[in-house]
Symmetry: C2
Subunit: 406 residues, 2 copies
């Protein structure tokens, strides 16, 4: 019955909606207003299953003169409208369906669409980043002007960082999501998607995130994929560039782009894919009283990549120094800061100097999440010695080497 | 020789400075320019120890009519000038010394001072919070108008949160620190301390953090102790209120206070101390690919308090649900968000609903760091059942119950 439209007689009334996947013994129905209701077996008096009518995707008249853009969907809130309308939870996500939801797109570009995943982004894993990077790479080899990846917002900045390292791209690779699903009047899905299309056609040669710039519908920011973070649980302008300005703005609705910072231009880099990732890498947030035994726990499991989210300029308690010294002999130990903004500098205070002596490498102004992904990528593709050198170097814009913006 | 002023002949020249504590086999000398130099035994040719002259603390003419304030020093950058001047690393931190550095203070209040610790705040531990809470409690029982705690900035917000829960106070308890030590021209130590003194005399009855409001020397913010976070590694305005406005501003240099938000007033609450803390509580930051085995690691060590820093509205991968369900039977599992800003809501998406069914409690709009300290305090002073109820309730301003500011 999964994905079917049914009427259920229960709790003294009739409920009508789509049967959703359920991880409990309840039957879960998504009502037309978007809410889910759960029913236990004994509550259900009768079920009327309606014949499932798949609406024919509307015919789109593509404008031949417009450039081609590839849309790869991975799921998340931005894709959730599709579920409601077709009734199928794992529905195909066709170009025609996207454009019937957001007709403005057909005025900007011609679209090919692929559904890679339909998952909430908290369930994304490094193996998904690899598959996604390969899928984007395949599209970049074709004659698309740019690639758009629709993605759940929870971990979109981890994925954009992963693809930034894995892919050297001569074209825009634009991640886009939505904080409110498109069946809600306040949805940001359409405007974000339209701005993403403009960014995908622009003079850009890197992986970016395009999301609302303010809570109004006036512009989207184009954030560098390795300098962006979700900084609010629910606001439409939750994504912010950290330690580097947004690369640009896409003005809505006219699509004009204002560039704000140095960026990789279209055609500047050759297309390359380096898609290995070492999964035995851990990010540990330090707090007062946390014992260093957590390092041994992972070390003993074979982990050789450690990203520490320290305090202030990049500190942990001095009782961590001995353990770090021991594991750093054959591991990559990178220090970042839970302050998030600003640069790590372990040469100011004693604690930091002991950490450097113990073999810690300063993560400069990298976000902890970005340092994590970078270490996964470095240990997957390089020797430990090479990785120790490269982690300090700016490879794709993840380290801001100028002292501006601090 | 520790704390003594010496001349050392080494590396072909003479170095002059104070012998500092060293965690390695090197002798560490703090030069008069503030830099540290390390010497190995074999590098040192000769040492001339100077007779240590402790400068007599200058005589201060206290103004009898001014109110009394207690200053408790725990160390950190704000106290670092004292080291340089007296030469002793564990020097007494007398009221006279403070006022000779910051003469404006003697125009605001009379000061008594106690040196509780002289440690960098990354070395603070929950047991230090307990000692500090008891020391502040002792002072609050006396006739001081308010108490100032000088503190390293790295973990100041953890300590202010801890004291907010442990102490019910009818008077201001003001945490203050400095991002640049007072031997640097750009130091924020004096202005922060002066603003802290004004806050300590104000109509306030709670634990707060007073730090620079901007990078200029125009005002300090008074942040609620449970709604503040260090959000920059080095800027003077690194501390920001999150999910609640600053309670007020102290205008510099005139000391006028502008109140900005609802606060506990002077005399509103009775003086009480509840100073137990359960140390077996862990904060875990989730990231894509992190295995739930980390929960078992701590559970098997006897931990029964878990604060998860999830993604977005408060999510982790669904492969965590079974483990959480198992440990939540006799543990407190609280979900917070690594977005930091905004409120956790696990009723929007399936992942969140499964987490709630598994026994996760939503941390509302509490910062992860504050939720950690609250769980330590709740499990130290209440039964598990009581703690599960209280963690959802706003006790001291840590949960903003209105939906304003989002």
């Amino acid at each position: 019955m999964l994905g079917k439209r049914v009427k259920i007689k229960a709790k003294g009334r009739i409920f009508e909606g789509i049967v959703m996947p359920s991880f409990t013994d309840k039957l879960v129905l998504k009502l037309d207003n978007g809410y889910n209701v759960g029913f236990r077996d004994y509550e259900i008096l009768e079920v009327y299953e309606e014949e499932f009518k798949s609406p024919l995707p509307p015919k789109v008249e593509w404008k031949e003169e417009l450039p081609n853009v590839k849309v790869i969907s991975t799921g998340g809130t931005i894709a959730s409208k599709v579920d409601y309308r077709t009734g199928a939870v794992t529905s195909q996500f066709s170009a025609e369906e996207i454009v019937s939801d957001i007709p403005e797109l057909a005025e900007i570009c011609k679209i090919d669409a692929t559904l890679l995943y339909n998952i909430l982004s908290e369930n994304m894993k490094p193996e998904n980043w690899i598959e996604l990077a390969r899928e984007v790479y395949k599209s970049l080899k074709k004659d698309y002007e740019g690639v758009i990846v629709t993605h759940g917002t929870d971990t979109m900045h981890y994925s954009s960082a992963a693809l930034s390292f894995m892919l050297s791209t001569p074209k825009p690779v634009v991640f886009v999501g939505a904080q409110r699903s498109s069946d809600r009047p306040s949805s940001d899905a359409a405007m974000n998607m339209i701005c993403a299309a403009h960014a995908a056609l622009s003079d850009l040669g890197e992986v970016v995130v395009v999301m609302h710039g303010t809570t109004s519908d006036d512009f989207c920011y184009i954030h560098r994929g390795v300098k962006v973070r979700k900084n609010h649980t629910s606001r439409r302008d939750a994504f912010q560039s950290v330690n580097y300005p947004p690369l640009g703005k896409v003005i809505y609705p006219d699509g004009k782009i204002e560039w704000l910072a140095e960026r990789f231009r279209r055609g500047e880099r050759e297309l390359k894919l380096k898609d290995k990732l070492e999964k035995k890498v851990v990010l540990i947030k330090f707090f007062p009283g946390l014992s260093p035994e957590i390092l041994d726990f992972y070390y003993d499991k074979g982990y050789r990549g450690f990203v520490i989210e320290g305090t202030g300029l990049g500190h942990v308690s001095t009782d961590w120094v001995e353990t770090i010294k021991r594991i750093a002999e054959d591991s990559l130990v990178v220090m970042t800061s839970q302050c998030l903004w600003g640069r790590v500098c372990d040469r100011v205070y004693d604690t930091g100097r002991y950490l450097l002596q113990a073999g810690v490498i300063e993560g400069e102004d990298m976000l902890p999440e970005v340092a994590l992904v970078k270490v996964m990528w470095l240990l997957g593709n390089y020797s430990l010695e090479e990785a120790k050198e490269l982690v300090k170097k700016n490879l794709v814009g993840e380290i801001n080497e100028s002292l501006q913006f601090y």
